[in-house]
Symmetry: C2
Subunit: 121 residues, 2 copies
């Protein structure tokens, strides 16, 4: 089984578990923005937005730079590839598991039919 | 922009933000298991494992069924496709953003070179 950096996946999935933080990432995918601009855009207080940005920053998804009184946010170096790889691996497991269950159900249905025919004879 | 069911993405990403819960999903991808078996496997108390399983259950990632005194866990109907779609969309944004930044850097480097040459003349 592939090993991923566990604390990183914990932090990045936690960072993604909030609709505003996902929105901030999408926004920064279009252009860099200051904390104030992000707070306005998402109808939040500066304090609330600062908290979201610091969660994203700790997860490595965003970097910030303060010039004068303005803190500019941009996307970090993480393209969420390990997270994607985990989800892909899970989907393969999930599909195999459901295919196996389907087979069992089919087998049971077939047995039922054979059994049913015998009873009717 | 594609719209996803927001509370669902919040719940599923939160469910994935813990290494034990990801491990439980991988385990159930191989075979169904009781809470007791999962607790043993992950060296946890029954109470701790019950909490993890209920987070997974609330996110729709696991279903459980109690027969007698044994509660069996199996994978739920969610294959995490929306979560995967979100990550794919993000990766496209991320790549476009970094390609744009690369272009700016190249342009600046080129300007620098031309400027440098002029200065040396």
């Amino acid at each position: 089984m592939v090993q991923y950096s566990t604390p990183r996946l914990d932090a990045s999935f936690a960072a993604l578990s909030d609709v505003t933080r996902r929105g901030v990432l999408e926004q920064l995918g279009r252009s860099d923005a200051s904390i104030t601009e992000l707070a306005d855009k998402f109808h939040m207080t500066l304090t609330g937005m600062k908290k979201h940005v610091s969660v994203l920053e700790e997860a490595g998804l965003v970097t910030t730079q303060k010039v004068g009184r303005v803190r500019t946010c941009r996307l970090g170096a993480l393209a969420l590839e390990d997270e994607m790889a985990w989800l892909e691996k899970y989907r393969r497991l999930w599909e195999a598991r459901f295919a196996a269950l389907d087979e069992i159900v089919e087998e049971l249905t077939l047995k039922e039919k054979i059994h049913g025919r015998k009873k009717h004879k």
